[in-house]
């Protein structure tokens, strides 16, 4: 009974938060509603005794990702109310609402009409290290499985994170003409590296001027 009440409260939090994200006119309000939804999901994780995920959900999602969103909103100064009435494609909004309602209906009907419960398997016994009812605590269990069965996926995750860091740096880096001149090969005077597509247009002209000057000397 207590579980059901907790679930109901969390479900209301999640639903209201989700609707708030898509209905709020100000992006900052959307981000705050997103935090509400994420906290609600963390509560559901606690109800299902996935304590580690609940903690990670709050720390990484609500703590890091939403803060990143807020940073970018403030940085770009787009925290102005958006006119939700504009429709670039005629009839897009009603159509989107219909698609959303159909999606929700399809999902709910599929789940509710499922034969033999949600998974079609009656209370699985659970096997060894992977079973949720073995002698380990939640974090021990995840750690053991993560570094055995999921070791390859875990290591690929490291590569993925490295790629993301490099990608973010490359995308947001501004290249100044001075920096580019440092990259010139001292022998051939060729550019060792090209300016990425995000560089300011003015820099190329400045660079051209400076290299012409250098050749004259």
């Amino acid at each position: 009974m207590a579980e059901l009440v907790t679930f109901a409260v969390a479900a209301v939090l999640i639903s209201v938060g989700g609707l708030g994200v898509i209905a709020a006119r100000n992006p900052v309000h959307s981000a705050l509603f997103l935090i509400q939804t994420l906290i609600g999901v963390a509560v559901l994780f606690v109800v299902q005794e996935a304590h580690f995920l609940a903690a990670v959900q709050v720390v990484v999602y609500a703590g890091a990702i939403v803060i990143l969103f807020l940073f970018v909103i403030m940085l770009l100064g787009v925290d102005k109310a958006e006119d939700l009435g504009i429709e670039p494609i005629a009839g897009q909004k009603p159509l989107a609402a219909i698609v959303g309602a159909a999606l929700a209906a399809a999902g709910i009907v599929t789940v509710v009409a499922a034969v033999d419960g949600a998974t079609g398997v009656a209370a699985a016994p659970g096997i060894g290290e992977n079973a949720l009812d073995n002698r380990y605590t939640d974090i021990e269990r995840i750690g053991r499985v993560l570094f055995t069965d999921y070791l390859l996926a875990f290591q690929i995750t490291a590569v993925l994170l490295t790629i993301a860091v490099i990608g973010a740096v490359v995308l947001t880096r501004t290249v100044r003409a001075d920096d580019l001149l440092d990259d010139l090969d001292p022998v051939t005077m060729d550019l060792a590296s090209l300016a990425p597509a995000g560089a300011n247009d003015g820099d190329h002209q400045a660079l051209a001027d400076e290299t012409d000057h250098g050749e004259v000397v």
């Binding site: 996935a50 959900q57 969103f69 670039p88 949600a118």
Partner: protein, 105 residues
Amino acid sequence: MFGEVELTTTYYLVLSALLFAIGATGLLVRRNPLVMFMCVELMLNAVNVSFVAFGTDLNDVGGQMAVFFVLVVAAVEVVVGLAIVVAINRRRRYATADDVATLRG
């Protein structure tokens, strides 16, 4: 009357379907790229709820492991996505996703 109602996996899955539909609708309706990213986060969270519910139902930690990796991929997606938004904004001011039609074929 409510004393006999038991919390089953189906409850979680219904909520998950609802949240996923809300996120998908938002992605179609909103035009601010940042809010569109938030809607993608909503959909990812809906799937996470399903994963943990299935894992609990099947008494297997695999569902929680899937959520772990979804969290990592979500973080990566947000980092790169927001970097693209910042890079485009530096070149040209824009407010909605419709303004960034330069790559249109």
